[in-house]
Amino acid sequence: MSNETATIPAAAEEEGDGFFHRLVAAIGVDNLTLIFAIFALLFLIIFVSGWFGYEGGDKFMSWQNLMNSLATAIVIVGLLAIGETVVIIAGALDISVGSIASIGSVVAASFLVGAGTVGMLSFLPTGNVLFSVVMGMLAGVICGVVNGFIVTVLKVNPIIATLGTLAAFGGIAFLIAPEGKPVGVMTQPQFTWLAQGRFMTDLPIPPMGNTAWPGVPVLTVILLVVVLVAHFLMTYTDFGRAIYAIGGNDMAARLAGINLNRVRMLMYMFCGMVAGLAGVLLTARTTSGNPINGVGLELQAITAVFLGGAATTGGKGTVIGTFLAVILVGILNNGMNLLGFNTFVQRVALGMLLIAAVALSQWRQARAERVRTSIAAQG
């Protein structure tokens, strides 16, 4: 065991190539590209918009905008994208995350105020914040089990399977809500604290853009915690290894002893749980458990994952990459809002971004493939 370093002398050579190389290797080239894109976008919004006479660009660099608008706006899509990252790295897809979030939203609200189909189960406690959060997440897990069952046991293609459950879960969210109407939670300040609460409000940070330091939103902290947990899961656990292996080559993974069905089931459960949590937080943010809360969010989530460097064929991608892409998309949306672009323009931009992200990912794969073939050709 002591001979590890002696085994691969070249490794030390390659990695010990100065501080800069080590830094690049640690962050990853793809992630560096994203960080660069984020700065380019900031520059565009703050300075270029001013030069061209757009109003609103100057509002960007204010605590009010950065901490209250931007940092909370990315949370919901961010959570969905993190769950989706795991699924996409495994070479699959979950289109149903938006509908799962809707179910999570309605279920959490229903338990909290004792309304709707599930809230009417009168033997269950109401008014308990933790309980309703857990139940919202559990509802997401159950949705994940359904997705996992359809994909692993019924052997339906993941895209078709989750397209079906996108519709079905969306309908179920309406069926749970009383007469399909939203369930208000405004009377539950402990619950809405999840969206409105702030940590570290008394830090001595000077005001910016004429707005005082508002503290770090609870929402943002939750996203960061989930990002770290997912990153740990994908990088340091056997589950993460199995996900990368399945996405890279599922047949080889199975013949090396990975139980494909088990891993795929767990993966959909994880994605469902995170989507359920996103739904719970949507309820807190909008102060109502609304069955339309999650509609359309899957598109933004999937866009962020591909923008974050995941391969469409699976086996490649990182949680951190997705997180950076979520920030990038958030800044883009926020900037367009401030500069006065309407939502229709924003939808066009988002659609184009998804296609651009996938095109970029294909190009990267083609480049990697060229490298491989040129090496094979030397043989």
Partner: protein, 526 residues
């Protein structure tokens, strides 16, 4: 090294070709002639530059310097189509086959005969039947098979047929026999010789020395991108060839002394499956048991049934005396079986992941605590096997797809050595691997067996089976047709058992006479 100028018309002249890739000079000032009516062998270890040269001739790559010409006309290709129009055709190991269409359509793809604007099926099928019959492949390639039902051998034949429908002047075959049975090899050789006699210039790339000696007129040997020598085949002995290729002596490749104990580690009794009919055999601890047979005999499938990948219909399997009932590979691995599949790129490795991740995949449960991978332990265990197997990789974090074939196979073996199985199934472990790496793998198999592992060694290369196996089972059509001890196993006996019902007559050279009515058709890949 340059050759004397030749005046034979139709000679493909390669002059001073060099080609560099980012980290390596793949070809350096290579000059040679490929003459019509001659079969020229390209030999060399992986990385010697054979494939690069073929790809330049085929228009896949452009040379950095040097020229290629026929009849003093300099050829400058930017793509494969131009090369084909010039009469040059390179047949690679894995030809492009359209999965959903049948054999005739695959052969005449792009130029299907039409009648009133629709495909003339009748004319097409007739044409295909005549062509295949003409070249003696009608019995091995039924025309109603779809692209995805074809075995590797059949795919090759389709590709060769495609080449022959045009006027071919230069035909290059890149390791055409690596997935062919001996019988198919003979048919191919008959065809190649016939084309030579018709005046085609033929390049034949192979690792198999005895084939080259049988078939080729001249041998060109490349090493590290340079042309080492070009000589008439009859002037070179096997030892000459090997030493020119590697610059070292490989005479001690096959020196396994049997180390089998009396303890049975694997016993299979009356096994039935979708492919198998009453298969019974056993493997002892410390024994290398060879499984020989033609492609499609059911050897790979047998491995997969034992490994829980394919379903068993009847019969019993015992591992170390205890009955083994597995329905998934992970269960088989837990019980102590390892399996290195035949197609390492498709079934063995996750090419886009690292050496480390690939090698530790089967033992992750031993390397984790509360599902968290103990990274230091993992690196030390994998590092130990990477060193033991002499895997040439810049680091453990290198993508496996970027390693050479031999090193990729060693990563697969490292995975199974680390798993410490009781029985290890090796399916064609040396396919497509250069001579040096082959020798290392043979040494490794010998060593593993000496340490008490029972090895099920599936191979289509006769010398491997004869040199390594302590005992040999021969399979045919999903049955075991014979068992031979290491001392009684000979090439003739094995062939006889592999083809008991299929083939009864041999001619003097061991080339089977073409009697299609006697032959079974091999549809599935073995």
């Amino acid at each position: 090294m340059s050759e004397e100028e030749t005046t034979l018309p139709g000679t493909l002249k390669v002059r001073h070709i060099s080609k560099a890739f980012p980290n390596v000079l793949a070809l350096e000032d290579v000059s040679l002639d490929i003459r019509p009516g001659e079969i020229l062998a390209f030999m060399g270890e992986n990385g010697a530059g054979k494939s690069t040269l073929l790809k330049i001739i085929n228009g896949d790559y452009r040379q950095d310097s040097g020229t290629i010409s026929i009849d003093d006309k300099v050829l400058s290709f930017t793509n494969t189509r131009q090369a084909r129009e010039a009469g040059i055709r390179v047949i690679y190991q894995e030809p492009e086959i359209v999965p959903g269409v049948d054999v005739p359509e695959n052969i005449w793809i792009g130029e299907l005969p039409k009648k009133y604007g629709v495909i003339d099926r009748k004319a097409l099928n007739e044409r295909a039947e005549t062509r295949l019959k003409e070249y003696g492949f009608d019995s091995v390639l039924p025309i109603n098979l779809m692209g995805d039902e074809l075995s590797s051998a059949q795919r090759q034949i389709v590709e060769i047929m495609r080449a022959l429908k045009r006027n071919v002047r230069v035909l290059a075959l890149d390791e055409p026999t690596s997935s062919l049975t001996d019988e198919e090899v003979d048919r191919l050789f008959t065809l190649v010789k016939r084309l030579r006699d018709e005046g085609v210039a033929i390049i034949y790339v192979s690792h198999r020395i005895n084939e080259i000696k049988r078939l080729c007129d001249r041998i060109a040997i490349l090493r590290d991108g340079k042309l080492v020598t070009v000589q008439a085949a009859e002037d070179m002995t096997e030892a000459d060839i090997v030493s020119a290729m590697v610059g070292r002596d490989l005479s001690d490749v096959f020196e396994r002394k049997p180390s089998a104990s009396d303890r049975e580690v694997l016993r299979v009794e009356h096994l039935y499956s979708n492919w198998h009919n009453d298969v019974s055999f056993h493997i002892n601890a410390g024994e290398v048991v060879g499984f020989s047979g033609l492609i499609g005999a059911g050897r790979s499938e047998l491995a997969k049934v034992i490994f829980g990948e394919d379903p068993k219909i009847g019969g019993k399997i015992y591992l170390d005396g205890a009955e083994l009932n597995v329905s998934r590979p992970d269960q088989a691995i837990t019980k102590g079986i390892g399996f290195a599949p035949e197609d390492r790129k498709r079934e063995g490795l996750i090419l886009i992941r690292s050496v480390l991740e690939n090698a530790s995949l089967a033992i992750l449960d031993q390397l984790t605590r509360f599902h968290v991978v103990r990274s230091k332990e993992e690196r030390s265990v994998v590092g130990r096997y990477v060193e033991k197997l002499n895997v040439r990789t810049p680091s453990l974090d290198q993508e496996v797809g970027k390693l050479s074939g031999g090193n990729q196979q060693k990563v697969v073996l490292a995975r199974w050595l680390a798993a410490k199985p009781k029985v290890l199934i090796l399916d064609e472990p040396t396919r497509g691997i250069d001579v040096g790496a082959k020798a290392e793998i043979y040494g490794l198999i010998d060593e593993m067996a000496n340490e008490g592992l029972g090895i099920m060694f599936i191979s289509s290369e006769m010398p491997e089976i004869l040199g390594l196996a302590d005992r040999v089972y021969v399979m045919q059509n999903g049955r075991i047709t014979g068992e031979l001890s290491g001392s009684e196993a000979t090439e003739e006996k094995i062939l006889e058992l592999a083809m008991v019902d299929d083939l009864t007559t041999f001619d003097a050279e061991g080339i089977p006479e073409l009697e299609p009515e006697n032959e079974d058709v091999e549809n599935s890949e073995g």
